[in-house]
Amino acid sequence: MRATVPDDRLEAELPAPPDALVQLLDPEGRRRSDPLYDPYVADLTGDDLLALLDDLIVVRRIDVEATALQRQGQLGLWPPLLGQEAAQVGSARALRADDFVFSSYRENGVAYCRGVELPAIVEVWRGTAQAGWNPYDVNMATPQIVIGAQTLHAVGYAVGCRHDGVDTATITYFGDGATTQGDVNEAMVFAASFGAPVVFFCQNNHWAISEPVGLQAQRPIAERAPGFGIPSMRVDGNDVLAVLAATRRALERAHRGDGPSFIEAVTYRMGPHTTSDDPTRYVDPLEREAWSAKDPIQRLEAHLREAGILTDETSARIAAHADAIAAEFRAGCLALPNPAPLSVFDHVYAEPHRGLERQRAEQQAYLRSIGELEEAAE
């Protein structure tokens, strides 16, 4: 087990100066020592590091496969996370099984790490359901599409955990664009006022569709949280070790009952906003190129090769694992059944609703009248 460090320094370092980017692996894969954050990853063995690499590669492979499925007409839409793998894997792998996640639509890498079934990840995007999984099965709410709305749910859940006397932490993911939303700002006030055990995890991928982060914030986003009374960290979001360390630190605070924390993971959206987007209309190719030199997978690979942990053989094994997952993902996606006609009426209410029952009966009669309803298919 990793050592826990006394944590009074978290407050002491506020407000986070903009250049204080936590980085444990530089873009070339060199290990940078950091006395504050090193202890949070000191327990990682070679196998643990390889497991992180495997996660990063698998998550990217799923993402690429999903984009292909969309291009082939099998998905209506897909929001690629290309470039954000380390931010998602590093934070998700810091969580305990009982910690609860409230995310946006882009955190499909987090969903994978939480153990969501592969086809379930894609249901929303194929259009067979509005939520792919039961949140309580994996302690992760299903993707939130209304920007920022989930941050308040996280605070409520966290306050509920405290009422229940458990030390479960809650983490909420949102983007740089979301930080402008009223809900996110309300969530930070509420979390601070109630001392909620919640981690605000902002992936600053530099874009909100076509709007650059400079339109949302004139100062580093991480600087906002201290104004709410929330300790804040700014980490290199393409460095899986830094993200893991920072999230562990924030979770430790939450588990200990010391209240909320904020993490800005500085990363870059290497793909389009979604498969419907055309980033050539607004992204400067030079900026994107500069970020491709900071790729999260390359740097961990370089580090592990240098350390003699990653061999050609292991590399091939990971690639084969990623391909197998992708094949399973694709097959699971294609096998998802279309919803039955009358299922549109299901689960609107938990208890019987007279008006809706009548409407359902009328639609059922209509479908029968045109021969579109087999008794069995209802």
Partner: protein, 337 residues
């Protein structure tokens, strides 16, 4: 049985709900030490503590959003929106989240959230304190919308709303908060069933919330003229208890609907369409609506010209009976239709 004001009946309802189920928590602005601006939560924080009766930072979206997280965790939150006109900052969390989470998750996540809203006018208030926004919510699938008109119903229905596994918008007729009536805590009725308040034979008059009392007055006045009015208190606006209204209209053949909210796209329109659909051949006249106008709620000293009152309701009754009414003046004078 005891005589209570409607506000006190709500207060005792909340107290019972808090005592019966330790997952019930109250969230709102000024509901703790102060007991709410209408004192509906008076004494509850003192009795149940700050964790169960929570004074919230001043943000309505935040209150509902946090209630959602508590519901995820298995709590039964009861939120107070301080006034009708301040529910709009929470609109997204109510219609896009509270209403849809059960559907979205195919029944995995329940949202047993009660949202209490003092609503309606007639108290001489400044802007944003007299509105009737119920139709927005009745239009939203996944929500139940109810309103009470008596202390007994206030107590019973609030406890039913809290016990309900669906989200409930609970509209409280604020100008009737001080109305007194008998309250029997053990009384029960079907939560979503309308109530025939006055039996009658000639016209069905449907009202809810603050206008039920006005409708009863109208029935008394009409009976002086030999017209027998059946008054129905809808109680539930979603779902609508069309069966009860239909049974009445089959008997009377005439329907008048009254509400404070604007007419266009309101509950009256829905009721008129549904009842016409169900019992067209039993109707002797087109359903008549007597409502607030399609204007913003006016200033306090003009509200008497906006709110349906006894005389306007009686005019609507005349219209439904095919008797001379103000509408005839409009037609004969060649005014706009």
């Amino acid at each position: 049985m005891t005589q209570l004001t409607l506000a006190k009946a709500l207060n005792t309802g909340l107290r019972r709900a808090l005592a019966d189920d330790d997952r019930v928590v109250l969230l709102g602005e000024d509901i703790g030490q102060l007991g709410g601006v209408f004192r509906v939560t008076d004494g509850l924080q003192q009795e149940f503590g700050r964790e169960r009766v929570m004074d919230m930072p001043l943000a309505e979206s935040g209150i509902i959003g946090m209630a959602i997280g508590l519901a995820y965790r298995g709590f039964r939150p009861v939120c107070e929106i301080q006034f009708d006109g301040f529910i709009y900052p929470a609109f997204d969390q109510i219609v896009a989240q509270v209403a849809k989470l059960h559907y979205r998750t195919r029944g995995a996540v329940r949202m047993p959230i009660t949202i209490r809203v003092p609503f309606g006018g007639g108290i001489g208030a400044v802007e944003h304190h007299s509105e009737s926004p119920e139709a927005y919510f009745a239009h939203t699938a996944g929500l139940r919308v109810v309103t009470c008109s008596t202390p007994q119903d206030a107590h019973t229905m609030l406890r039913q709303a809290i016990a309900c596994d669906d989200p409930v918008l609970f509209f409280e007729p604020k100008r009737r908060y001080w109305t007194k009536g008998e309250v029997d805590e053990s009384f029960e009725h079907a939560f979503d069933r309308a109530r025939v308040v006055v039996e009658g034979a000639d016209v069905t008059l449907v009202a809810y919330g603050p206008l039920v009392a006005t409708a009863i007055d109208a029935a008394v006045a009409a009976s002086d003229e030999g017209v027998s009015v059946e008054v129905i208190d809808l109680r539930s606006l979603s779902p609508l208890d069309l069966d009860t209204v239909e049974a009445s209209v089959r008997k009377t053949g005439r329907l008048v609907i009254t509400h404070e909210a604007a007419q266009f796209g309101g509950l009256g329109a829905e009721l008129a369409a549904s009842i016409t659909d169900r019992c067209f051949v039993h109707l002797e006249a087109a359903p008549a609506r007597v409502t607030g106008f399609d204007t913003p709620y006016p200033s306090a000293r003009a509200e008497e010209h906006f709110l349906p009152d006894l005389d306007r309701i009686l005019d609507g009754v005349d219209r439904a009976l095919g008797r001379p009414s103000a509408r005839d003046l409009l037609l004969t004078s060649g005014g706009a239709r």
